[in-house]
Symmetry: C3
Subunit: 423 residues, 3 copies
């Protein structure tokens, strides 16, 4: 994952344009990605696909002739969707087009202006403070024209047409946690999913944030509402600090129950956010009337780490082990979603486990923890509780009781009532 | 309010009689009050209207000929509903008819005996301790005879016949917080309500406590059960110490939800009582089978301040600012009841606020609190939550989000689904 | 109770055999017990009645000819269901058949092997450590043969065929709290129940644990599911340390509500276990599909006191006053179950208690606690709450409000709506 991220890092992405195309084309070398384009002007619910933006170069020349702010050194230096410009300008006028962060003086901020035409440059506050009076030359070689919004999609068919939906975005320039950690995580999950047969169909999309998810929903809403049983928005999954959970708007969907159960057992110190803290595509997936069961599992949440939306969100912030830790959580969640069935004991009263070699033949003062857990699984395999609820009730991790359930199924002591999804 | 209270203070009220008539007639100068009389002997549920009680004078003459306890100085000196008497009496016998408070030796207690004939005097414990052996003369010029129970009613028609019901009582003699604060508050609210068009019809009653509310319910129960959507009992609303909330028996009616929301945001240190702490007409309004949605908002609750039911509950205890503070709470509650509708966003996914000038055109690192609140209102305007629930969910005061809702309605981003009350 | 326990203590009980028969025959001298036998090999749900085990004698002779472990001194010395043996044996081989507790070196542990044939001896760890090399003689004069499982039953008919079910076990050898406290408590409750007419029918069983309850359920399940409205498993009810409550699997049955209410008021420091802490016949009574409303009220719970399942669980651990304390709880629970009806006030608004002599005729500053409780009972006698819920709502013990309810019934202020059980 980390290598792929290094490869994708330098590209200047935005919500439209060649940066997105280039990113998707690199991902297509890894996974069977279908790529779609939606023309400028297409109505998508309350929105409209904007013009396509591309940029070749941009810089500021100082009064002494030095190139002091250079898009080619860091693509965050230009305000996203800046209109072209090529002229001399006084420092006073220039200041009105500059963006810096006073309390993070070494960071270049990330700024965009998608829906109003303007131009601007971003720079560190230290650099800004050094600017002297005089005439500057500003140059932005960009283009805003009729074009397309581009996104990618992978569909992995399962035994059933019920779907698990994963969404990540590909619209930020060179930032690592709040951009690339998402697509590389999704790519890795796709590779893993392709290695085995799944019960559910998996739909994974790589889209520009907000306008992309709105576009995708406008094309697929009815299908998604009918088929999606669970899913996650994948964003900010690569640093090593926290684990975070942000619920779906409804808060108690399968996605929520699984994510909470896994995080509680695997990373009990995870931060539990409210839907009021949302900020990414869950805003669309969970909006009234859309109401898909989409929750978010993150490392440190967007907006909650100082490097967020600045040049400091770089390849040092995200680590291979940060990515791996979150990948393990997603894999465990998916495994649980796949196995979350209802189980029922096959006889009245406790089954006699002893005659099946599942219970000690001698009764002494103590019962082993494993035997207790097995007895507890049996006590709550009443056909009314799914795996997650059994696990929550007996205060065990679902991961640990799955092998016990396998043993009990094999011994025909319980049966799998399925979950109503498979016919 | 305070001036009106001063005017009403000296009158000797009881559950029947000329004190009540005089009080209602003063209120009628202020508001369009209808006055009703119900004859002695009328059956009202399990009760019967008692005989009417009037008193002209009462005093005790001590062995030395001094008038030592004088009704004309303080009408609390006579036990309410005392039968007439005019005779000499030993101190020993007199003591059996005296009431004082050992642990509040400077207070004249308030004592009544509505349903059993007796006579008695109330005095400070200090005064009682000074009584010497000898022959006293007791004189009570009162009358208990067939007559009427008197009460007042104001009905302010609204756009709909659904009603908000306010009740206050007018049966205590010269006491300020636990009596007059209620009727003057109700009077002021009526004046305010008369100044504008309301959605709901307002029904406000001025009744003697217990027997009055039982009488009123016996005449109007079916109408009230069909029409009343919210309401409050108004009592003890004038001191400056606490704010108190006493729920309806059901506990989660619109009246409760509104009162709790307003108090939580406006006076977060308010005291939250249980229905087990009830003591005024909510006992009748919320009794089994009656079950009206009546809660109570008070300053310091009856029974919970030392001056309660004594001569110390006087015009010093209640202040203009104490009354005003509670008046503001009632006004805010009524405004919320009037506006408590269901709202629904008009499109799927987030509406594009930017094109309507409701969202910043440039995206930097931070979102303003106001924009977040607007986005939160939109996220929960799902047609299933009323204003109070939206406010509770997004952890904002309903008062603060009402202007945002107005803006969103005006921009046609949301619609008002109403609340099912208006046709 | 304590005397009966002393009489039963020496008998060597197991899940089948003459120890059980002898125990039931002693109980039959006290109560009208019906005794049943179920033959070896009978299928009971997933189980089968095992062969019957009887033992006459057992001991170990040490190399010097001393009888060092003697069944006749303590019947815990033999592993329950040991097969017969009579031979010389090396210490090394003997060790594989010995059971002792390293961390309770003065206790003989209680060990059984019902469903796998083996033999063994239990002894204190101190004694085991003193064993020297040499040849030992082991002798067990036991018999495992086709026979019967024996259990007892008492049915006390009530006014209705709805039943309260009590279950206790009689399958442990000489142990006091975790065995005999149960049957002597059940015996005492039967004697008390026989002294008066009850509304409900009482069914009390004396069975071997696990196999006995499974056997009983296999014969009576449909009847029990249709008729049992509440019940308790009676085990570990005789020491003086704690009070404990272990809920039914469902957790909110009448048995649970009554037990919790009584313990909360009578022994507020009781230990509240989870169904995950179960271990006795509630495992069968509450298993999925059986789901009887059976909770457990105990003194110190099985498995939670050091003497449990050892020779230290003796007649010193259980005391007459320990038994009496728990007996009082059971009696109060049964009385509450008998009286747990729905009550409804007979008029709208508060009834006028004064005219019935139930309310003070003079109104002063304070209301007595008793009057308040009566008013609270009335406020919640809405026909929708049973006695337990009224008591919980008004924060009083049901025991204390029962006399108030009697008074209100007598005064015809409320009526008993019954609880749907009696026709």
């Amino acid at each position: 994952m980390y290598e792929l991220m290094e490869k994708l890092f330098p590209i200047c992405r935005s919500i439209t344009g060649n940066g997105v195309r280039q990113t998707l084309s690199i991902l297509k070398e890894e996974i069977p990605l279908s790529i779609f384009e939606v023309p400028t002007g297409t109505k998508v619910f309350d929105w409209e696909i904007p013009r396509e933006w591309n940029i070749r170069d941009a810089y500021i020349i100082d009064p002494e002739g030095n190139k002091i702010v250079d898009f080619k050194q860091n693509n965050l230096h230009v305000v996203g969707y800046s209109t072209p410009i090529d002229r001399d300008i006084s420092l006073e006028e220039l200041q009105q087009h500059l963006y810096s962060l006073e309390n993070q003086p070494t960071a270049i901020p990330y700024v965009t202006s998608y829906y109003k035409e303007r131009w601007g440059f971003c720079l560190t506050h230290h650099q800004r403070q050094k600017l002297k009076e005089g005439t500057y030359h500003v140059y932005i070689d960009s283009e805003l024209k009729e074009g397309n919004l581009t996104y990618g999609e992978v569909i992995i068919p399962g035994e059933t047409n019920k779907e698990v939906f994963l969404s990540t975005y590909i619209c930020h320039p060179s930032m690592a946690n709040n951009e690339l950690s998402g697509p590389v995580m999704a790519t890795q999950l796709i590779k893993w999913l392709l290695q085995q047969k799944q019960r559910y169909t998996y739909r994974i999309v790589f889209i520009p944030e907000t306008i992309g998810s709105i576009t995708y929903l406008s094309k697929h809403l009815l299908h998604l509402k009918e088929h999606v049983i669970a899913g996650y928005n994948i964003s900010c999954v690569g640093d090593e600090r926290a684990f975070s959970y942000l619920p779906s708007r409804q808060g108690d969907t399968l996605s929520d129950r699984v994510a909470l159960h896994v995080l509680k057992h695997k990373h009990p110190k995870f931060v539990h956010y409210s839907f009021l803290d949302r900020g990414s595509d869950e805003r669309q997936y969970c909006s009234p009337g859309v109401d898909l069961p989409i929750a978010s599992i993150m490392r440190t949440k967007f907006g909650h780490y100082p490097e967020y939306h600045t040049s400091l969100d770089n390849l040092q912030l995200v680590t291979a082990s940060g990515l791996q830790g979150c990948y393990d959580v997603f894999v465990e969640c998916i495994k649980l979603i796949e196995k979350n069935d209802y189980y029922q004991v096959n006889c009245l009263c406790e089954p006699q486990l002893g005659k099946r070699g599942l219970y000690p033949t001698i009764s002494t003062k103590e019962t082993s923890a494993q035997v207790r857990t097995m007895m507890n699984v049996l006590a709550y395999s009443d056909g009314k509780r799914d795996l997650i609820e059994i696990a929550e009730t007996i205060e065990e991790s679902a991961k640990n009781i799955l092998p016990i359930i396998e043993k009990l199924l094999e011994a025909r002591v319980i049966q799998n009532l399925n979950n109503g999804v498979l016919k």
